[in-house]
Symmetry: C2
Subunit: 122 residues, 2 copies
């Protein structure tokens, strides 16, 4: 179950805005706020079965967007690659001796900052 | 017009798979193969007006996906950032003297290769 929560959470981050308002709210209540189907049904004044059906349709929609656009996969691939850039930049930084000029270190710092910036904004 | 073609081309790259088959084909014929509305109508056996309506709806859909997900904007932002990483990596490379060890140069080469790889796959 935990894995599913993480998976839906990621899909929801990327494609949540493409869901209908009701689908969006129900995914949020169930997966992010951890409410039960019965609790959601009470709040929205629909049956437990009704909540379940909307939830399933919303999940299917999220998976189908990922099938078509693959943004989560791309995001995870890019994350790994950007972390490698950071690793290499750190290694270069460590190996530059104190005598080696400060400009080189600044360039490496810039590389690290940009890589982190891309990581954060994706 | 040229700018619009480029813009729709980019949106189509990112969101084309979310269009209906007919919308997809008509965008392709009009923007990528440069056919006229009348020519497309003839091929698909629908009126020129019918083609126009589907085209407009398809364009609206592409713009609306961009409004919601902003993938084209993100792609263009990342492209600029990755190019900066490449620039800095090139500068570091130039400034490393021949005596400075080959391992450092290899790390920089790796950074450049990964940045290029991300650029190509986005």
């Amino acid at each position: 179950m935990y894995e599913k929560v993480v998976e839906i959470g990621l899909l929801f981050d990327f494609y949540g805005k493409l869901l209908s308002e009701r689908q969006y709210i129900i995914i949020e209540m169930y997966y992010l706020h951890d409410l039960s189907l019965a609790e959601i049904g009470e709040q929205l004044k629909i049956s437990r079965q009704g909540v379940y059906d909307i939830l399933k349709r919303a999940e299917d929609k999220l998976y189908s967007y990922e099938d078509k656009l693959g943004l989560v996969k791309k995001f995870q691939d890019n994350k790994k690659k950007l972390k490698k850039i950071l690793d290499y930049a750190n290694k270069v930084n460590e190996e530059l001796t104190a005598e080696q000029n400060g400009e080189l270190k600044n360039h490496i710092k810039e590389i690290k900052e940009i890589a982190l910036d891309i990581l954060e904004k994706n």
